[in-house]
């Protein structure tokens, strides 16, 4: 395996130093960077709160994105309003950047819904649990964009790109590789954003691939690029480039964001069974949030007061999310019969009536 340090695009070192890259530049302002920092802090807060909610029995499960904030925020902030995101189940930071209300994400994990949000509201598709399935959905959506003529017109409000997220493990799935084939065959405006967080539950990345994942794209004929996934500036720059290519009609690209899952796979997981504590310690030194803080503080853009305000804002958001979570209505079994089809069947209507009569018989008894 080639040394990723030599292949990886980086614009901000773990110590918060800006470095140059021959091909990629970050051209945002300090305010933009401060905005990303805010996004990342909010994401981490959201994530922590959800983990806490799970521990307290308010969620059945949570899939933390701890450590992956830069990969998610940097890429999410590179999308335009009309762009469309097809996430896996861990893209809470992307959801945040798309304006999805944090509490919206909780329904699935609390077990009150199977997702339940409207993908068109923020152009943020449902969380996908079957590994890799969303890569095909995103590609198909991008084929539709193409059919609509919404690429390469030069109109920034019209040209549309799709970005689909998946993990390192997902690259082994047939669906993901078929998505690569379709995307390139039709020159579809889709960016494949792979967060290589080094682990697929207990399996290290080497089980899936012995070469860096971004090189998978070489095999399919479109560009692949590896970026320091803990560097929000680099992620933003690389994703902007890939999205622009896509919207200009130049077809797909694969981005491998080299990052680390600092938490458990999910709250049901026990990572001590399969990985060493030292690994986590090494990665803590590359924390995506700390380096931006250091950078902005050094430049005098932020100070402790700014950070304190941000923390307060994050705590408010978390409190609101928690309150919203507890207030989520339980699903009504009887109503579920109406959701199976757009055009309800007589059969289900009858089953629904039987169910309601049956349920009512208990009410009477009590």
């Amino acid at each position: 395996m080639a040394d990723p340090a030599h292949e990886m695009v980086q614009l901000l070192t773990p110590e918060g130093e800006r470095v140059e890259h021959p091909d990629f530049t970050f051209d945002g302002s300090d305010e933009d960077v401060a905005g990303y920092l805010r996004d990342m802090v909010m994401t981490r807060r959201l994530d922590n709160e959800a983990t806490a909610l799970q521990r307290q029995g308010e969620l059945g499960l949570w899939a933390p994105c701890l450590g992956q904030e830069a990969a998610q925020v940097g890429s999410g902030r590179a999308t335009r309003a009309q762009d469309v995101v097809f996430p896996s189940y861990r893209e809470h930071g992307v959801a945040w950047t798309r304006g999805v209300k944090p509490v919206t994400l909780l329904g699935l994990f609390r077990g009150v819904s199977l997702g339940g949000w409207d993908p068109h509201a923020n152009y943020f598709a449902p969380y996908a649990i079957v590994i890799g399935t969303q890569a095909l959905h995103g590609t198909g959506y991008a084929m539709g964009v193409l059919n609509d003529g919404a690429v390469g017109t030069g109109d920034p409000d019209r040209d549309t790109a799709v970005v689909t997220y998946f993990g390192d493990g997902a690259t082994s799935q047939g669906d993901v590789n078929e998505a690569f084939v379709f995307a390139n065959s039709y020159t579809a405006p889709v960016v494949f954003f792979c967060q290589n967080n080094q682990w697929a539950i207990s399996e290290p990345i080497t089980r899936q691939s012995k070469i860096p994942l971004y090189r998978r794209a070489d095999g399919f004929g479109f560009p692949g690029i590896q970026v320091d996934g803990n560097d929000v500036l680099a992620v933003h720059a690389v994703t902007t480039w890939a999205l622009n290519r896509a919207r200009n009609g130049e077809g797909p690209a694969l981005i491998e964001a080299f990052t680390y899952r600092m938490g458990a796979h999910t709250t049901s997981d026990d990572p001590t069974k399969y990985r060493l504590a030292e690994e986590l310690e090494t990665w803590k030194l590359k924390d995506p949030i700390e380096r931006v803080k250091a950078y902005l503080a050094r430049r005098g853009v932020i100070d402790q007061a700014w950070l304190d305000d941000l923390q307060a804002e994050a705590d408010d958001m978390a409190a609101e999310m928690r309150a919203g979570c507890l207030a989520l209505p339980d699903p009504d079994m009887g109503d579920l019969f109406d959701l199976v089809y757009a055009e309800q069947t007589e059969h289900l209507r009858e089953q629904q009536a039987e169910y309601r009569a049956y349920a009512a018989s208990f009410e009477e008894e009590n």
Binding site: P119, Y141, N147, F182
Partner: protein
């Protein structure tokens, strides 16, 4: 009245064409459906007339075809996917059961899945392995899917348009060995609703319940039985999920006897479901148990044994006799 004499295959072609004319969001996708017109020529001429972005030759990957259709549907399209043969639908099974069937439900109705899977199914054409399967029970057991099968050109013409117009995912099973059957199709008639069964031949002694390729067999069996003085009613199910139970029950209540016929392996086939429902509803009305005629519980056999494997007139009549003997 504008009547055309069409084969079942040509009726499908005409129905697809009309659906594409009516709605620019209708797109076709599949292997070899463009220049070749599909291996059964069902899409013949459509790419020429509607262009490559509406009649899409797909890379050779069924999961890819059906999975990208999900995204196209989310973008507002109405994809009609052809899978070349029944036996090749399984690489895409995951997309069908975990995505097509669940997207509407998962999004609380925010996303509709108006997708059609066109699947030539069943045997009897002397083909090699994987080209003669009858996988309908898998789909019919999957909540969130609708499953239909036309048995004749008239239904083929209308049902394909109705399936495309449906806001739900429809598995559209084409009885491939009947592609060449001909009938007059009135393209101005008003079609029967998609999810209704129909009494294709009235009778009073026994009800044959069938669909797709077995309809012709059952109608012939009914004719043969008539010569022996047995008056058989034949119901064309047309819709396998949901089943049109009112029509089925009304018929069997009258005749008091029923035989279900399908090509799919007997065990776990649709016949069991129908039998269970009939006995539950008509327990005191039935003079005989519901009998089932199906493929034997084997992998589809080599084609030189398929005539013995598939239900035919004799096996249907044998079941009829057994039922009447009760």
């Amino acid at each position: 009245m504008a009547v055309e004499k069409l084969t079942l295959g040509k009726a499908l072609n005409a129905g697809l064409r009309r659906a594409m004319e009516a709605d620019p969001k209708v797109v076709l996708a599949g292997e070899d459906i463009g220049a070749l017109g599909g291996v059964f020529r069902i899409t013949e001429g459509l790419q020429k007339d509607f262009g490559e972005s509406r009649v899409i030759d797909s890379p050779l990957a069924e999961s890819g075809i059906l999975g990208t259709a999900v995204g196209m549907a989310m973008r507002g399209y109405r994809p009609v996917c052809e899978v070349q043969f029944d036996g090749f639908v399984f690489p895409a099974f995951d997309q069908i059961v975990t995505q097509w069937a669940k997207m509407h439900n998962r999004t609380l109705g925010a996303v509709k899945m108006p997708i059609v899977l066109r699947l030539p199914f069943g045997g009897g054409i002397g083909a090699v392995e994987h080209h003669s399967e009858s996988p309908e029970a898998y789909f019919a057991h999957t909540p969130g899917l609708k499953v239909v099968s036309p048995s004749n050109p008239v239904d083929a013409y209308w049902m394909i348009q109705q399936a495309i117009a449906s806001e739900d995912p429809v598995v559209f099973l084409e009885p491939k060995r009947r592609y060449h059957e001909k009938a007059e199709v009135d393209v101005e008639a008003s079609p029967r609703p998609l999810h209704e069964a129909v009494v294709a031949r009235p009778g009073k002694d026994l009800t044959l319940l069938a669909y797709g390729p077995m309809m012709k067999t059952c109608l012939q069996a009914a004719d043969a039985a008539a010569e022996e003085g047995v008056d058989i009613e034949v119901v064309d199910l047309r819709t396998l999920a949901p089943l049109d139970m009112p029509t089925i029950i009304e018929s069997v209540r009258r005749t008091t006897r029923a035989v279900v016929v399908h090509e799919a392996p007997l065990s776990g086939g649709l016949g069991g479901e129908i039998a269970a429902r009939l006995h539950e509803t008509l327990f005191y009305d039935m003079e005989a148990p519901v009998l089932r005629v199906g493929g034997y519980d084997l992998p589809y056999p080599p084609s030189r044994a398929e005539d013995e494997y598939l239900p035919d007139l004799d096996r249907v009549l044998d079941a009829v006799d057994r039922s009447l003997a009760h």
